[in-house]
Symmetry: D2
Subunit: 419 residues, 4 copies
């Protein structure tokens, strides 16, 4: 499936790689070095780790006379691949002031140069196929980290009492939210999982049969205004709305609102965004919501979260538009069709625990650690967010985070069981 | 469904209630008071809480001139029902030296007397139906706590360096384990969940349709001998076998074997049991295994854990014998049929996250907190264990614990996907 | 100094040993088994450990044909003597439901019988001297634990929301507190530390020279009423009054009052006592005060805590009466002399860090671990409390606890530097 | 004492301020931003906080038309002065990527300019005296932070597996250590504390009388070679050598050697230094030693740590040379006199808890928080280290850290009580 066209590959490689640098462009060396919490990584680490991925999984296997750029980087920038050897502990990534950002940029340039040479070289068919497969994976991997760069730097900047903005321009007010409608689907015996020739991650396979009962899906995401109504109705003080573990989670942290919201002394609500502190916009989709919060709010509204099969089925049935992602979804033209905001706004929590599809098999070797070993105590999110790179998402895509994760662009799409 | 026969109910009530006292009989007041960890409760607390359940959910609603036995007990012995009011914090249950065990026995006697009076009194049809429903729930609830009494007191005694035994008699050696065979099933579109007139918990409902791919299920549980082979092959030192969170769990606690195993200086393995410290019996089912361990061991054996639908389907298909549970399963006569040890030995971890069945609805009011609010970050176990009261289990029964729980009688039944 | 009179020793031994049993008499087996926090020990453990002390340090050395009562007890009831071998971890003392209280009583009876035989046997002079020294130490040690039995069981009962009382009788109101006066002392070059023939602990030696500047000491302890004024003036909300570590301590636990105080909805203050919950008595000495609180309150009153040399000097200078200790100090007749309440009410925090006196030498062997190894990060308290056994305290006695300890009967005596 | 000579002040101010920048010169923006642990601060924070000190305590009081450089800095760079208002939490100092290092340099330049203007302006006598006092304090304060800049950046670089060096040049081997000799002193009634016209911190006052028993002090610091002998004799495995809390501290962290030591597979010892990883030099003073380690090692050698009075008395008696501090003490010419290495090598732990001298009074207002509120649970160190700025130390200087602190340049000088 991965046809080998050297020029196309070279261009695509260069474009994806450049976008990582573009994302880091508004940031200082200091912004790129610090780690705000163990779950997040420094921007510099993302820049180095994505490079490490190409060096380790492609150059080390296919480059003649392979020499690592720096022997210590193999360990420093390994994320979680036990099959590759030692790794620097995740919570200590922010302590690496050396190598500096400029050395990491040099590392990127060096690997890019060697990759270009490799892409332009004569390879036998097997090597070309292997290269195409690995290159695709490496680029998709880098795109995943591009989203994390935005969520992680947002979390970092949010720790600063002076509320620094990542993006200089102001955020335009969103258009009035459309009325929330329900799209009814019959369900039945259907096939779930990736289909076709294009790339997908191993966790989207195998495509398999599943029975889905009739259900209805909300036409759009819940808005900040709707979520605020949940808060004002006492949502964070009523245990009957919450999962027991969610209620403990709320209590242990004394939560009263989503991660980046704050209320000033006059009662006005504000939201920290990549554009700095902004007045809360009632029309935008509520984002940075945990599964616990999404579940409680859905409960309060007399609805529930969809299963991932329901979400995928509806996405296909309604021909959900792959809206253009990006940092300014509010500025986009209104999407068409019965289901809006399926892509490009917020990842949407499902009620489905992240588990292998029946017949799932991880790849052999270290790359087999990519997805499978995380399939416990996490929940699937579907769609994509404003931070997802263009062209990265698809209807069968499975994102996953723990139920208490809030620093992702994650929101709420309701479902309900048909009578 | 709950036909009202006063004499039968009175007898059943008395029998179940007496069994709790029988389980506590070998224990001292001190054994019954102490809490070994936040997840476990003192025996005295179990005896009081099960009584509180009848007093709160039956007597308070149906008794004329209701007066609580002791006003403070409403709070002290509430487990997790926010709808009933305040509750004493779970990790502090073991600090309640007062009321003493004798006062808790008096509480039981008082509630039993009032319950007997209520059961013998004239009630209108609606009240009788309500009473039958609540009484059944209360007795099933007490049976659940009877199992916990055994797992919790075992955990308590295991903390004591002198290895005290709960049961005086020695444990007989188990018969040689039968060869492990595979029962192949076609799967297909099938119905899962409780069916029929008998009692079930709300989490077993509604019965619903599910598609199951062809699979095979192991004919019996994994034995201590087989689990020891996993250990000796380096199972606890090889990250490639473990879920990432499981590997962190192993590392943070430095685990090298199941909860109650110990190895002496001569290399001999021992197991702490309710009968005291015993030589490890290679023929008994491995028990007190966490999901993390079960998954890693299955992985090592080239197999996997079954889904709960697979387990339930197989149990029905093979007409799994409801073997007599009890503390001495090894002494039982060999069960017949293609699937052995489905009940009465160890609960069997499934790969299924504990989630509501499609269309699930919790009961109204405080009793609605019984099951639904725990449906996150837990995994389903099926079958029953040697500690499960006779008559309590069934094929649709859904037990559930977090992936790291080890103090339950939980073991491993393998599955594999058919080619 | 330890003249050997077999009859006198036998009687004294019996009296001290009996008092431990008397202190446990109002308690159930359950009360005696549970441990409320790592700093406190179960009553049963105190009863066993004091017995272990005689068995280990006297019988094992002097008894012919020594056989331990139970081999495991050597480890189970060792508190902190590394020189004696392994020890059961302190925070797990409350998990020992076996041996039960009755077996511990049997242990006590057995050791008492063997001790009586030893005390009545013919010994050479060296053995008699050694026996007298060890016996004295063992009895003083048991008296120290008698005080801890009261502070530890008070802490345990205080965890129970039903506020159980240790002592049945009510607590009589205290007489009106005398006016607080200041006793001025010249100080100068003086000798500090134990003097004379009587017993003392090694930490009271050697008597040594110290220079003390002129100072004044308060005539009595601060009362609850005075401490309440500190609270009502905002004492717990003003960081300028507190040591930095004390302020962090207050903040991390959200403290607003002493350990056993509580305020009801009507604003009335109550105090949990060994006699149950009582209205706060403004005339009693404030007790269960930490060093942090004592220091802040003294600061607020424009005074300071005394050094231990100042306290000892004043006690000698004023001929401080060794008031009869006991659980009802309020009922005692008013003491005479310029300094009141030096003994028998509350231990009095000093500003002195617990450190070895110049020239201090710990005893050889395991008994050398009695005091010296604790001489860091603790502060000295002087005097004695209502829980201190009669005859146990003296002016040179050095009690010691960490600055945040609150479960001892510890109060505040002010000092100030003379102009 | 603080004579006002505008030119001298201006020069001294400029010199001290410049040295902070010089210390940061070898570091990148990233090195200056990251915080390695809550006890340490980022270099950038040190640069800003010392500037804040001048702005807050001098400019805000004495500058006409005072305008803060940035309103948020008042809170961001307040260390612990509750009297000045809110403060950014200490463990979160490393999350401040903004303001960047260049903005902090601009802040320094701005305040330096305004300070120069103030120093050159006409002031009345009272204002000049106040200015001289505050300026002195501000410069001494900055010197204290200069030492912390070196200890904190060393700790940060030590977290990096590639062992980066702060200073490029190699560390020369030390000359052979002189034999350890004992200087005997008579002690007696003596005066302790700062004397004379020069600057001192408030904790060195008032000078007061103290009685000191005869003692002897070691002529030099313990060497790495001597400390290694302690390790090789099993010092970290023998509880009888340690304070109880020290033994728990060793056990909980699994310590086997000083903070920056490591042993390679061949058994060779290495030490991480500001010059990178170096072979352990047996002749250098052992440094980065905690009080717990110092006390245990002294115990093992049959000696003890000196009290702070003993140290100060000996320093005066022997006319201890104020050796030139700096990063290369091994390169200095051998000091003369009976006591060597009193200054300029390692701070020397004393057995004295950090406590106010008799009659101590903190200054009024926020500056009174400088020292007094830390006088609990810390121990005094005397002398100075290789990281102490020239001219900063004196015989009466009292440094202080908790007993487990190891990231300071702290070593061991032995004492013993004369027979």
């Amino acid at each position: 499936m991965h046809m080998y066209d050297s020029g196309l590959w070279t261009a695509r490689y260069a474009a994806v790689r450049q976008r990582s640098l573009d994302l880091a462009a508004p940031l200082s060396d200091e912004d790129c070095c610090v780690q705000s919490m163990p779950d997040a990584s420094p921007i510099k680490w993302h820049l180095a780790h994505t490079t490490w991925f190409f060096e380790t999984f492609i150059l080390e296997q296919l480059e003649t006379d392979f020499q690592p750029f720096h022997p210590a980087f193999r360990m420093l920038f390994n994320s979680y691949y036990n099959g590759v050897g030692d790794k620097h502990p995740r919570p200590r990534r922010g302590l690496l002031t050396r190598p500096g950002l400029s050395e990491v940029r040099a590392y990127r340039a060096n690997v890019d140069q060697r990759m270009a040479r490799l892409l332009g070289s004569a390879l036998d068919a097997a090597a070309r196929d292997r290269l195409a497969m690995l290159l695709t994976l490496g680029l998709e991997h880098e795109q995943q980290h591009q989203e994390l760069m935005l969520t992680d730097v947002k979390h970092l900047l949010a720790q600063n009492p002076i509320n620094p903005a990542y993006a200089a321009e102001a955020l335009a007010p969103a258009a009035a939210a459309a009325p929330l409608e329900w799209l009814a689907l019959d369900g039945g015996l259907c096939d779930i999982g990736h289909q076709g020739e294009g790339f997908c991650f191993d966790n989207e396979l195998p495509r398999h049969r599943q029975y889905v009962a009739p259900f209805a899906l909300a036409s759009r995401l819940l808005t900040n205004g709707e979520y605020l109504a949940f808060i004002e109705a006492g949502g964070y003080r009523d245990p009957s709305l919450w999962l027991a573990e969610g209620w403990d989670w709320v209590g242990s942290m004394g939560l009263r609102h989503p991660l980046y919201w704050q209320q000033d002394e006059a009662g006005q609500w504000w939201e920290f965004t990549l554009h700095g502190l902004q007045r809360l916009d009632a029309n935008r989709p509520a984002t940075h919501i945990s599964l616990f919060e999404a579940d409680a709010c859905a409960h309060w509204m007399g609805a529930r979260l969809p299963s991932e099969a329901e979400w995928e089925l509806a996405a296909h049935a309604a021909g959900a538009t792959l809206e253009c992602g990006g940092l300014h979804p509010g500025a986009m033209s209104a999407p068409q069709g019965p289901l809006q905001q399926m892509f490009g706004h917020c990842w949407q929590w499902t009620s489905s625990s992240y588990a292998p599809y029946p017949g799932y098999r991880a790849a052999a070797g270290a790359l087999g650690e990519y997805n499978g070993k995380f399939m416990v105590n996490q929940y699937v999110l579907r769609g994509s967010s404003c931070a997802t790179p263009e062209g990265h998402a698809r209807a069968s895509y499975r994102n996953f985070f723990p139920a208490g994760a809030r620093w992702q662009f994650s929101g709420i799409r309701l479902a309900r069981t048909s009578a």
